[in-house]
């Protein structure tokens, strides 16, 4: 292999790794969501759930436009919170087809999808307010 080719390969590898080091998903939920035990006195109102395909450009460096990147969980409204939250992230068959079909290596960097879903229960906390932390 010529030195120039080696250099190009090395630069491409370094760039790819540098660009793809940001493939992280923040699981953002409405304020005061309860992920563990419910607060005392909380009453379940209704179950809620959603799932969607999250799409990323350059292996996660950028969200792919706004398509599929909005927060799944919506604010349940005043006086209400989400509780008993379960989050599931899956690299399912559709994700891998999308990853492979555009051409393994470059496909992954151009379009990197994941399927994310959540299940929760909307609760009402009665007349108790969320206490501030000092």
């Amino acid at each position: 292999m010529k030195i120039g080719t080696r250099m190009r390969t090395a630069v491409a590898a370094v760039l790819s790794l540098a660009l793809s080091g940001c493939f992280t998903m923040n699981h953002t939920f409405p304020p005061n969501t309860q992920f563990g035990r419910r607060p005392e006195g909380a009453v379940g109102v209704r179950p809620t759930a959603d799932n969607g395909m999250k799409n990323y450009l350059l292996a996660g460096l950028f969200p792919w436009s706004r398509f599929g990147t909005d927060d799944l969980a919506k604010d349940p409204g005043p006086g209400r919170q989400l509780a008993d939250v379960e989050i599931e992230t899956q690299f399912n068959w559709m994700d891998i087809v999308i990853w492979i079909i555009p051409g393994q290596y470059y496909g992954y960097y151009v379009w990197a999808p994941r399927h994310v879903g959540y299940k929760a229960v909307v609760i009402e906390n009665g007349d108790e307010a969320v206490a501030a932390t000092r």
């Binding site: 790819s16 790794l17 793809s20 080091g21 493939f23 992280t24 998903m25 923040n26 699981h27 939920f29 304020p31 005061n32 969501t33 309860q34 992920f35 563990g36 035990r37 607060p39 005392e40 006195g41 996660g60 939250v85 379960e86 989050i87 599931e88 992230t89 899956q90 690299f91 399912n92 068959w93 994700d95 891998i96 087809v97 492979i100 393994q104 290596y105 992954y108 906390n125 108790e128 969320v130 206490a131 501030a132 932390t133 000092r134």
Partner: protein, 135 residues
């Protein structure tokens, strides 16, 4: 079909068969209160801030996960220790630079193996009307 074509087909099909298996569940059914809000149902004070992460290794694009399953909420609850809960909880997952190097270089673009991580950050709190442990 030549041997090379067959090898390519197998390489493409194998991860597709197993790809539905690499699933991360963040769920907690214990007695700790975990919230992304600023406080619990009673006044609290921050005991300490924490930032922790966990990493899972898998074979064949997630077909064979190894070790303990990733679970950011369990990780946060563990941090609470003997205290009642965690506030200002932030949860994320994905691949950092180390995951990318492992998955793309020795694991050959994550076909052979790879790693996936989860990160949690928050404040462990104690009720202000409860005595601190050890005092």
């Amino acid at each position: 079909m030549s041997r090379r074509s067959l090898a390519w087909c197998l390489m493409l099909l194998l991860p597709m068969v197993g790809s539905g298996c690499f699933t991360v569940h963040h769920v907690y059914h214990g007695d700790k209160l975990l919230t992304n809000g600023p406080g619990l149902e009673r006044p609290t004070k921050v005991v300490r801030h924490f930032e922790v992460s966990d990493r899972q290794f898998f074979w064949l694009h997630g077909y064979i996960p190894t070790g303990e399953a990733l679970n950011g909420l369990e990780l946060a609850a563990t941090q609470a220790g003997e205290h009642p809960g965690v506030v200002n909880l932030k949860l994320k997952e994905g691949q950092d630079f180390t995951d990318l190097v492992i998955s793309h270089v020795p694991c050959i673009l994550s076909f052979v193996c790879g790693t996936w991580s989860t990160w949690v950050e928050g404040d462990v709190v104690e009720y202000t009307d409860a005595p601190l442990a050890g005092r």
